[in-house]
Symmetry: C2
Subunit: 239 residues, 2 copies
DNA sequence: TACTCTAATTTAGAGCCTCTAAGAATTCTA
DNA sequence: TAGAATTCTTAGAGGCTCTAAATTAGAGTA
């Protein structure tokens, strides 16, 4: 198929791209409440209801924009991972985590929009665009952990010590990712992710402003801990 | 002053109380977007603009409602802390943390509203109602940690190993709380809080639904870790 | 008691928003 | 090239925030 793009399809794609740009601009400059169907349409020089040919409604637009952010974030992380060709797995993992925070701090509005917004049901659905993009993001970290697990492994809790209800959930998850991580390794992965997530949310949502303005050092300490937990060699950020 | 309440003042208080009830009902039943000035007024049988005599605008109302939630949460935690008269400090601390999660899971909408909403500037201001109530909440955990620190202490990192920029921020915080915790102990406190916060946000925002539906066992594991970090004796929840 | 002052409320209205409906213009397809 | 599909427009119903002006109900005072 040399030309899967008819004239109309191309136009549609261009419009969708414009929508993402406009929505993001509104988000960044005027906050998430300014990302309305009308405002986005106005930004494109269209009149409101036209956008209903592209999105089922406001939530759908929000989901699409979110998916775009997820993709960009995942790409930024993947780029950091592959930046140094000869880098060790340890270095690649740390670089990926740092890219996560870098993206979050450089794009706080987008990060908050992605991670600190209650996900409504339609966007939580398994088939949704947002869900798919979220998995793409998860994949980046997961791949690294899987690689680590397969090449060197890391210390995991004895499955017997984990509560049954947790183990059964972890088993489903382990199956869902094709058994690439056994339940107890999945547990460690999730635990690491929860820590990163909590720290970043706190920073981006300004929940910790009352005490700490700059969480960079806390983040590095967190990475140190995660590294030791995963048996990685910690190294300072290099710039 | 036997009667600081004139007839009018009483009426005003009653109205404010009604506002909180109505706003909460709307939040829980129809989501945070349904908590509008108009809808709340309608719920009270008033017509819209009347509420502008009670609140400067929508954000102000939001801040007041948030403050109410903070107070309720702090009270629930304090109640759990004081429930068993003869309980050890260890038990009181664990009970308080568990009360935090219990409140969060029983009132997910309210918890999300408090902790997983970007705080706008006016509500972040030091004098705001929300800020004051947030401090009341923080106090509950802080008091326990201070008590622990003063009676037994706990393991802290060597201040020299903490980055300067972090230390200077921690020093300000330490001063701000009257030096009741030295910077390095404050660091441990914050680290514990960040972990609890991240875990709860993740649960309430459904960010982890793709793998874990019930985070109760993860929370208990987290408490185990925090307990060992603070030198507490971990004990199972008692119900 | 009557008179003023203030607080609580109401309606009117401007300017946003979401989303539906109906028609006009454009492009694709058979 | 004629019909079908897509894109876009305007019109409009109903909701929201917030301001302004008019109305009513209490409180304080001469």
């Amino acid at each position: 198929m040399p030309e899967p793009t008819s004239r109309r399809e191309r136009a549609r794609k261009a419009t969708l791209a414009e929508v993402h740009v406009a929505a993001r601009k509104l988000l960044v400059t005027k906050g998430s409440n300014a990302v309305t169907i009308n405002a986005v349409a106005r930004e494109l020089g269209m009149s409101g209801p036209a956008l209903y040919h592209y999105f089922a409604g406001h939530e759908d637009l929000v989901g699409a924009v979110t998916a775009g952010f997820f993709e960009e974030l995942a790409q930024a992380m993947a780029a950091a991972r592959d930046e140094r060709p000869g880098a060790s797995l340890d270095q690649r993992l740390l670089a990926t985590c740092r890219a996560l925070r870098a993206w979050a701090t450089h794009h706080p509005a987008e990060f908050g929009w992605i991670f600190a917004t209650p996900i409504d049901k339609s966007n939580r659905a398994t088939g949704s665009e947002r869900h798919r993009a979220g998995q793409g993001f998860e994949q980046v970290l997961q791949d690294l952990i899987v690689e680590l697990w397969e090449t060197r492994g890391f210390e995991v809790p004895d499955p017997v010590t984990l509560p049954d209800s947790l183990m059964s959930q972890l088993r489903s998850y382990s199956d869902a990712i094709g058994g690439r991580l056994p339940p107890e390794a999945a547990h460690v992965f999730l635990d690491c992710w929860i820590r990163l997530y909590g720290l970043l949310c706190m920073e981006i949502l300004h929940q910790l402003d009352f005490v700490l303005a700059d969480l960079e050092p806390v983040f590095e300490l967190c990475l140190r801990e995660l590294a030791s937990r995963l048996g990685l060699e910690y190294s300072e950020p290099d710039n």
